[in-house]
């Protein structure tokens, strides 16, 4: 029972990592940019949802509006900050991404202040069930299921739809895709929109579990999600999902089974496991080894 509860805990935080990791991996797959501002887009989504909820808009519309808002916001960021640098070195783009991240954090601090805002507690009134001596709120299970549904929908979109095929084509070879009549700019914008929308979705799941919104809330989940993306093989969409869940579960189980006095070491154990995985499979769990093009 204890194991099951801890597994649910891990899956919950893992589903959030996975949703954010998708944004990282899709953007990396298509323009080879590690978008370090991605975690902060999640933060923007959280503030957006908070504002809507505080103005009396129910959770489902608030979620959809916040996702749409972040999608548009993602496109704007791509157009203003990354597109002009698409032809320059990857390092410049990376530095720009870090700049955008700092800009978003500081702007949020300016607009909303640095103190933590409380997200409405949605678990109130939701039933919870007892597993041994521990209880689990039904909302936890709902959010894991929702995350999985969204991920399956994304996978279907990317593999079955025309737009998804275009996305994969651009990611494989931008120039050839352009020659085939694919509008590369639109495709890249779409990728940013989907990634940012997913980040807003993750933000709401995050706030449901940990009801607090701060300007820096995106930083740590952002980094963890980036690690999840690398673990799963960056650029590979199912890899990000699996990476996110694995990271979440390893985290929870390490904290669960490490002896009490040594719990300070739990992060070290988590990262040691990741290092070992990457030593054995440097391109990530589902990543294909990079071949040097001659």
């Amino acid at each position: 029972m204890y194991f099951l509860v801890q597994l649910i805990n891990g899956l919950q935080i893992g589903s959030i990592y996975a949703l954010i990791a998708l944004g990282y991996t899709m953007v990396y797959g298509i323009i080879k940019l590690i978008n370090f501002a991605h975690g902060d887009i999640m933060m923007v989504g959280a503030y957006l949802a908070l504002l809507l909820l505080n103005n009396g808009i129910p959770i489902i519309p608030a979620m959809l509006i916040s996702m749409a808002g972040c999608a548009i916001f993602g496109i704007i960021i791509e157009r203003l900050a990354y597109k002009p640098l698409r032809k320059s070195s990857r390092l410049s783009a990376l530095i720009t991404a870090i700049g955008v991240s700092l800009l978003l954090q500081n702007a949020a601090m300016l607009v909303f202040g640095s103190a933590a805002r409380t997200f409405p507690d949605l678990t109130k009134g939701m039933p919870s069930f007892q597993l041994g001596s521990n209880s689990v709120n039904i909302l936890t299970v709902i959010s894991i299921v929702l995350a999985i549904v969204v991920m399956i929908a994304l996978q279907l979109f990317v593999t079955r739809s025309k737009a998804g095929t275009a996305m994969r084509a651009v990611s494989e070879d931008t120039d050839a895709a352009e020659l085939m009549g694919i509008n590369v700019n639109t495709t890249i914008s779409m990728t940013f929109a989907i990634g940012s929308g997913l980040a807003a979705f993750a933000a709401i799941l995050f706030c449901m579990a940990y009801p607090q919104v701060t300007p820096y809330m995106g930083a740590m989940p952002g980094i963890k999600a980036f690690i999840a993306a690398v673990l799963g093989g960056i650029g590979v969409i199912p890899g990000a999902m699996i990476g996110g869940f694995i990271l979440g579960v390893i985290e929870a189980l390490t904290k669960a089974y490490i002896p009490s006095g040594y719990s300070a070491l739990s992060d070290a154990v988590v990262f040691a496991i990741l290092i070992i995985v990457l030593l054995v499979k440097p391109s990530g769990l589902l990543g294909r080894p990079q071949r040097e093009k001659v």
Partner: protein, 406 residues
């Protein structure tokens, strides 16, 4: 052409980001004379500018006025400022008006050292009230001691602060004192088992945890689990699930209130039914439960004073503070307020603002303030009472107030 346009926009974005950076900086760089921004303090500043001949008592303040711990800094400095105004209105210290300059250090050690340097170099301060949180206070205390400057931290609870030297004092009790106090409190209430969830990256949290577990074991309270987390964590479910499965009667969480709010909610969610306790970092927890005031009901934490203390001094302070700032004073405000009167009494007993004489006077002082009456021990820590505050229906009630046992 299009390229040029985007380059311009990008430049605009960068300029904007530079501006925001400056915007943030400005608060720190400029001396905010009286962050509450009232006319009286501004007049003082104007007076000071014209009379630079040592007829004023130049008091420095250091506090995080922005950043994640700004709530503590702002309330401590509100208390300081209210006291400064009162003292000035009543004729000053030894006939000298207080010229008060407070600098923002954002809760950061480097910023605190720099701000301290500016206070000494630009304002030639006679005494320092600050810093507010422990880590920057330790570094600043070291400098103040080297400079022979009397320093009173109103709220820095780390044992190491006053260990930095002879000129460093504090108005609050120490971390280890507070941890021990809570352990004997729960033992006194008849609880026999407890678990701890603490922040292993924070000196304050670790010190309370160590003192609490040590004293709890001495008093025969079984510690069922000792779990920790990191500064940026917001997921505590794994640790809490583990704690709940060991069935403790009490959970001790020595952390700050923003984190505590998350822990409290997750503890309820994971099915913890016992008593949740903590240290003075819980003061302010109700700011996180504005839409659900009963959400923190039943939490008991050790604190420096309670709003509901019927002592006349406390009630006068509380009503005046409410009038001035429109909110209930936290313990930080009360400690800031006491620090000014503590310093005033020392300077008056010394009869001069000479730094060495003020330090000597502080060592032998017997002070009675809002947060209690105290003398300093040989380590310049006050020997005073601890208030146990219980959160009830969106209010902080006084459970009991206990004297020193050693």
């Amino acid at each position: 052409m299009q390229k040029k346009f985007f380059a311009l926009v990008l430049a605009g974005v960068m300029a904007l980001s530079a501006l925001t950076a400056c915007g943030g900086d400005k608060d720190t760089a400029d001396e905010t004379t009286a962050p509450a921004g009232d006319a009286a303090a501004n007049d003082d500043a104007a007076d000071a500018a014209t009379s630079d001949d040592g007829e004023t008592f130049r008091l420095g303040g250091l506090a995080p006025l922005t950043g994640s711990v700004s709530v503590y800094g702002v309330s401590a400095m509100n208390g300081v400022e209210m006291a400064v105004e009162e003292v000035n209105a009543a004729g000053g210290i030894n006939g000298q008006q207080i010229e008060f300059n407070v600098l923002d250090e954002k809760g950061d050690v480097t910023e605190a050292i720099n701000a301290y340097g500016r206070l000494v170099a630009d304002h030639d301060i006679d005494a320092l009230i600050g810093d507010v949180t422990s880590k920057p206070s330790i570094s600043v205390a070291q400098r103040a001691n080297e400079d022979g400057l009397p320093m009173i931290t109103p709220t820095g609870t780390a044992d190491a602060i006053t260990e930095q030297g002879e000129t460093v004092f504090r108005t609050c009790f120490t971390d280890s004192y507070q941890g021990r106090a809570m352990a004997s409190f729960i033992a006194g209430k008849g609880y026999s088992s407890a678990a701890v969830l603490y922040d292993n990256s924070d000196d304050y949290s670790v010190a309370l945890y160590n003192a609490f577990t040590e004293e709890a074991k001495n008093q025969g309270v079984e510690i069922t689990a000792e779990e920790s987390f990191g500064a940026t964590d917001s997921d505590f479910k794994a640790q809490l699930t583990k704690i709940v499965s060991t069935n403790p009667e009490v959970l001790y969480v020595p952390a700050y209130y923003e984190t505590n709010a998350l822990i409290l909610r997750q503890a309820q969610e994971t099915g913890f039914k016992g008593l949740i306790t903590g240290g003075d970092g819980w003061d302010g927890i109700l700011t996180q439960f504005k839409d659900d005031p009963s959400g923190a009901d039943g939490v008991i934490f050790s604190n420096h004073y309670s709003l509901y203390d019927e002592d006349e001094k406390v009630q006068n302070f509380v009503s005046k503070y409410k009038e001035t700032y429109g909110e209930d004073p936290t313990a930080f405000a009360a400690l800031g307020y006491d620090s000014v009167y503590l310093l005033k009494q020392a300077v008056e007993e010394a009869g001069t603002k000479d730094k060495a004489a003020v330090v000597e006077a502080l060592k032998n002082i017997e002070f009675a303030g809002v947060t209690g009456s105290f003398k300093f021990d040989e380590k310049r820590n006050p020997i005073k009472t601890v208030s146990y505050v219980v959160v009830q229906g969106g209010k902080y009630e006084l459970d009991s107030k206990e004297g020193v046992t050693e």
